[in-house]
Symmetry: none
């Protein structure tokens, strides 16, 4: 994986794990790859991965059972909450981009209506 060198890697790993859970790569309650496996998978130091797992545990996103491994939270709502947070972040970034382009409100409205149509068509599939 590629990491943005200007931000702490463990934070970027946390986001990645959350995205994977939200995407459904891991199901609620499911065992996650071990710290070592995940570290080699993402090409980072196991210590860094361990830190990421610890922080995720503090946030209640996973729990670790000594000697057994780490497991994604059982609470569906917790994952849903992350989905919303990630969507909101994407949304904030998107608005910032439009603002930076000085894209006016009228054109934005038109663009968003287009987006909505596209999404609805997708939903129908």
């Amino acid at each position: 994986m590629e990491f943005d060198p200007t931000r702490p890697i463990y934070l970027q790993i946390m986001e990645e794990v959350k995205k994977r859970a939200v995407r459904g790569d891991y199901s609620v309650g499911e065992q996650l790859p071990s710290v070592r496996d995940m570290a080699s998978q993402m090409g980072v130091n196991p210590n860094t991965m361990s830190r990421a797992y610890q922080e995720l545990e503090r946030e209640g996103f996973l729990h670790t059972r000594r000697g057994e491994g780490s497991f994604l939270t059982h609470e569906t709502e917790r994952v849903e909450q992350e989905r919303t947070a990630l969507a909101q972040a994407a949304c904030t970034a998107f608005i910032a981009q439009l603002r930076d382009l000085a894209f006016d409100a009228a054109r934005t409205s038109r663009l968003l209506r287009q987006v909505e149509e596209e999404v609805n068509e997708d939903g129908d599939r």
Copy 2:
């Protein structure tokens, strides 16, 4: 400037110049920094900058007068066209993110309405 190492630098420079023009950093018809200046400003080789300028000229985004320098197109429409293209690209990326998060149509609609409101508030400022 930081460049994504997986994509040609000259393409990223082209996008950056377009963004700057769209943001209004450069006005239509205005002389742009020379190839050498822009190259040192962005920390790339003058040849790479030259390539970027040449491609932008081919796209009609700027024109070069030998021995004089490069100038942003006089056509406001050309810049507007780029504004639209950049906004659409941002939009497409945004939708892809929501899709990747398995964000359903109903929630997306709500989110988009929220975006629209925020942008309108901006417009009112």
Copy 3:
């Protein structure tokens, strides 16, 4: 190959490749020598040859498949179009020469009829 030092080499290479295709040295759809081979064949730097090939691709005269090589266009019409263009260029240069010699219209007419006869004899061969 000898190049006219007053004109960009890559442009002269483009013309040479077109002439070769028009002469039938390369057939439509056929693989062309690699950038490196053609460069050493013509005694130029591979970068210069690469530029020539890229411009020819932009003109639709050849297409490149990454990792495989470059191929003359499949469209016979494209090559025919070049034949016409080259003939017209030769023609324009010829007229300019006659004009430069202050060759009057009557004598030019006679000369042109002579050209036509010679070409027709050629056709009969």
Copy 4:
């Protein structure tokens, strides 16, 4: 002046002087620039220029009067003869080019008729 390095320079000078006379840069009977002046004008060695003048004299195209200088022939016909010869040479080269392009007789006829029209329009000016 630029010379083709594959052919004797004095021959190329001779052709140049003939072209100038045919173009009317020099009139019949008129004094030509001295060997020295012409040599520096064309950027060649005076010996080379001298050789060219001698050959032109042998061909009866100019005559030299010791201590006075060189003069273009008085005979208008001699210049006309050169005009024809140069036109014929241009013509031969033109036909060779069309042949090299495998430009067929029908297309050549069409092209030549176009040329003739252009020349006639020119003549009307």
